[in-house]
């Protein structure tokens, strides 16, 4: 498994645990105190961590690992775009997830969403040429 896939997948596992932790806390608050104010504050990072940080990031990590390679299997092409996607995706998840928790009215969250969109674009630039006909 290439180093970048390890980074993507280990980060996704960290977000899985963080997202489930927030989910468990919200469910506990809902059950015990039936007060959803704090729970609602956790909702944005819970969703962001699990939808983007866990599932999207894991998918990118596995795709970077297994998509067809070039030059007889020695090259994965424009790796720089994939690294850029990793950096932007994680910055985006943190900004978009934690923006509301930090009392942000919208700028931090919008920046996070923009970073996530940039990550998707960068990963697309990397992966596009690797999606092609192969012999098996």
């Amino acid at each position: 498994m290439p180093r970048l896939s390890c980074c993507f997948i280990r980060a996704s596992l960290a977000y899985l645990v963080a997202g489930f932790t927030l989910g468990a806390l919200m469910l506990t608050l809902k059950a015990v105190v039936r007060y959803e104010g704090v729970g609602l504050l956790m909702m944005t990072p819970h969703v962001e961590f699990l939808l983007i940080g866990w599932t999207v990031q894991l998918t990118m990590g596995v795709a970077f690992w297994i998509l067809p390679r070039f030059e007889g299997g020695t090259s994965r092409g424009a790796v720089g775009y994939a690294w850029l996607a990793f950096v932007l995706l994680n910055a985006g998840v943190i900004l978009a997830g934690l923006g509301p928790v930090l009392g942000d009215a919208g700028f931090i969250r919008r920046s996070g969403r923009a970073a996530e969109a940039g990550a998707a674009f960068a990963f697309g630039l990397h992966a596009w040429r690797r999606i092609r006909r192969t012999s098996f």
Partner: protein, 139 residues
Amino acid sequence: MPPLTRWFIKSALVYLTVSLLVGVALTARGAVRLPTVVDALMPVYLHLFMIGWVTQMIFGVAYWMFPRVSKENPRGWEGLALVTYVTLNVGLIARAVVEPILALRPAPVWAVTLVLSAVLQWIGALVFAANTWRRVRAR
């Protein structure tokens, strides 16, 4: 394909069907008269889909396909993977049953069961992450 992967994937397929049927019930509320419990099913629908289907499918395939820990012990400690399967599914099913009931008829027994379901699902995710971490390594 190891037996535990088959359990994960077959369970995921069941959750996919059930979650989409719950989705049908949610959208049918305006058109036909349904029990009031259906109104409280939105979180159940989302979590049956995202945890039961998406996450469980990932767990099953990752357990099968990720690099081996060693020749003697290819998929890490199998007991931990079994703990993941049991806690995740018992927790999720308990949540799916109890959350709507608690919304309609609050009672301590449902509240305690809901907290237990949260703890079980959390343990499932934590144990999966711990067991998989060692298998994610650069060559």
